[in-house]
Symmetry: D2
Subunit: 300 residues, 4 copies
């Protein structure tokens, strides 16, 4: 895997029309950039009418080719390529798009409270190369997990919060996020509800909810699940939005339980689902596989 | 399997107290009846305080033994055994209980509308010996599935229903249920809501809901699931109660879906989950494994 | 779904090299054919070196366009398009490819013995529109399932087989397959081993093996599984090759079992897995999603 | 959970005969010990004929009762109870049995090499109270995981091994196991094959194999799985016996993979299955739920 070429990943969506695959493929082909993988999908069930979604991964080595120079001018760079893509492809097609580069390592902030399971899991996966990112810092409203952060040599900031200090605390969290150039915030069992202002000003935020949304929203989902007598419990990773537990779902999974399990046992079983679901969602986001469309996501 | 001894299955629940396993086991031992299997569980999370649940299966051959006669009197029969269990064990312990016999074949009514999947599935499983019951009749508000019933040689009754005729139609369904000595009604995608009166007067009713309850209650759960962008769809088999989709859950399962699936595809994927979940629930009920406690079930 | 455009699906593989996505997309774009969906994958782990696999679905409406005529000559037809694809794209790239059309309904033969589960399942799915094919005939070495075939109005041929008559019987099966223009043979629990000659002369054959291959090859896999004490049992759908149970796997799944289940119970649980796995494999084949590469398949 | 009574768990198996449930229940009842839970199962498929298996959990508070004293003599202790159970119940019934006490905390040794995933997982679960044991020490043939052990304050012993030193190294491991009163050895991705002598002299050993046994025995199971083109990969936790990868299976699970995953990706996906399967097996063993019978286990 080490010798994988440096590549760019483009996520693109636009109103559907004939010729989109060929036009997008053609753009990169004419630049001399090899397409490493391409996936597309046309959704006809959304609110915006038939809509085309595509993920393209291209080998950036081609930027050094004469072809690229011919097409982009002397400065055949990522930047001129991106500009050209915007001008020649996306804008005429009314497309929404983003681009990322494989040698850019995203910086991630992990917000936690007391439960160490997801933090251990993310830190270990990052260390093992499963998550293409750097864990820039861990922020908590509690000091309990500082030793975990230390064991993985991650900067740890304890920022306690009370009803009165909530606004200030969020401001400080946001300052840390900015200071550390964070591009993704992961709520790894952070037991605080973030304000609309925070969510508006922060980079994308992924939350893990320990219930199978849309069932069991709000607090104590395992107790709700136990009391309702469900036979499976689940976890849901979603982008945080101002409507709590209503954000676009990235990943979900469930585990079978039985009647002999009280709420405490559900917590135990649930932890296994939570950490796996959160890790899959963070990984998909970092691999630039997730396109949000209204309340839904497409994971390409 | 043919030579399995004739057995009785007792489901029992009572306020928890010391000695219950031994007292129940001892009752049958002293009668000379071998216990083929026994499972118990004490639930401390319910509304009624700590409560003991037990399922015991005993070999009825012992009823012919001198011991049984000594204890039950000359007429050591199922009936005198059951009476003695009630008087000597259940009543003193404030227990709730039921008893069933393996050579008694329960008669089941299947209610359907147009979707044949669950009907085929139940009929085939019954024929293959997976469901210890007789399918006594199929009732539908529509004629579409008559050929399916005929292929399995099951009596079929088409009883169309309109808003005006609903009360009458339910009455006729209930008459059929009684006439055919039905002990269990299975709603195998029956697209009608049963009235409180029907549910009060009918034997137990198991319904399959094509959603992962408590999410996606009501109509069109697959459309709801698609619109919410969930990553798994499910099905739930539950006892029908007057609170629609709120009855005690017997079994649930889910299947992974992806963004490329529109509501129609969810219907297709969902059918596979529905039929399996319904069959497992019906089988558990017929094997006398299900104890209802409030809104929950214990499947022992 | 009824108004889905008539489309062609191309499966293509070739030694990997730059520009393949764009060249294949470009070919159809220049003809004026819209690409409905495209997926590609480069495998670097196979025996033939880095290899490129692609599935493209194109809207055939474009064949009526002036562009198509300009490029293909007056006769812009499926046939000239396919020829052009072969000559201009596949041959120069040393590609292997196939093409299929959505208004061509594949004819399928189902071979069975006595177990009705998979036959019911395939017949019902075909009727419900899940399998894009026609079930042309059912062939069995036994008469038991004739009523099932009749219930679905499928031609049924009983061709009993003994050790002596095996060669003759296979010849007759093959004649039926040819006479009915069958393009896919499905072994839906056909309890006979097909000869190398049959497999050489027949269209593709998909078999369902009631074990998690490569474990539990050969006869009585559930008994093997029980005796080994595994905790999950599985089923495997694969293309039949002359090496029994060694053909390329198309789909697999498993189900949890417990110690209380004897071999008979494993058969019961296994049936649910078998039918689902077989149906998924047949569906993927008919949707032209499966590319065989050595002992592996790519399901795009 | 903290106020759970101190209890004893008895695992018992014997040739099947009438009256076993009642006799075992009766023994404890007559002593005045409440049965907290009881599960039994009769296996008719094993090599030793019909055999009865039972797990009973009893509340030890009853040992202080006059009844216990009357039956066991003045010294109504765990020891006299166990002796009485052996003499009065197990021996006459030719039973095999074991007993454990909930206030006895088993000491576990974890053997590792370089892969930290299972070690982190076990250490974290132990800390969170999921595993009723103490992790007495970590032994490795390599120094890599010492920091992980330190982070959890677990004694760590690096005992490198070569072909020549294998016998000596095993001897030293065994000495550590004895010195630390270890009752269970867990091979958490320990990349050494243990000798028959070690296995003979050591306490029970649980191994995690990163393949779905009996498929993919031996080294590099993920590479085998990739090369065979399976669609699911698995992991198997089993008791280690002198026949490598042939020991009785305690737990297994699988995860779906797709064609786009090379062997490296299978390793990543597999790690999630391995750690969960190993943890479930260790937990079941520690909760005294596992009875070994030949090559199979019963997990009651």
């Amino acid at each position: 895997m080490a010798e994988a070429p440096i590549h760019a990943t483009i996520l693109f969506s636009a109103p559907d029309r004939p010729g989109l695959v060929a036009r997008l493929s053609g753009f990169f082909y004419e630049l001399g950039l090899n397409i490493l993988s391409a996936t597309n999908y046309t959704d006809v069930h959304g609110d915006r009418g038939a809509r085309f979604f595509m993920r393209i991964v291209v080998d950036l080595a081609g930027l050094a080719s004469p072809t690229a120079h011919a097409r982009l001018g002397d400065s055949a760079t990522r930047s001129t390529m991106a500009t050209a893509f915007g001008e020649r492809i996306a804008t005429p097609l009314q497309g929404e798009w983003s681009i990322g580069y494989s040698d850019h390592v995203a910086r991630v902030a992990v917000l936690v409270t007391k439960d160490p399971t997801c933090l251990y899991d993310l830190a270990l996966r990052q260390k093992q190369g499963e998550l293409p990112c750097e864990l820039a810092l861990v922020v908590s409203n509690h000091a309990a997990l500082e030793p975990v952060a230390q064991a993985f040599r991650l900067p740890f900031y304890a920022l306690p919060v009370t009803a009165d200090s909530k606004k200030d605390q969020e401001k400080r969290v946001l300052e840390l996020v900015r200071k550390h150039d964070v591009e993704l915030v992961v709520l790894a069992r952070y037991m605080q509800i973030l304000s609309d202002e925070f969510l508006r000003d922060a980079p994308p935020v992924i939350n893990i909810h320990h219930g199978f949304l849309p069932a069991f929203q709000g607090a104590k989902p395992y107790h709700q699940a136990h009391s309702r007598g469900v036979k499976l419990i689940g976890a849901t990773a979603h982008y945080a939005t101002k409507d709590l537990d209503e954000g676009p779902i990235i990943e979900q999974d469930v585990e079978r339980i039985d009647h002999a399990m009280g709420p405490d046992e559900l917590v135990r079983v649930g932890r296994d689902v939570e950490r796996v679901v959160l890790a899959r969602a963070v990984r998909a986001h970092l691999q630039r596989r997730v396109i949000v469309e209204g309340r839904r996501t497409f994971v390409l």
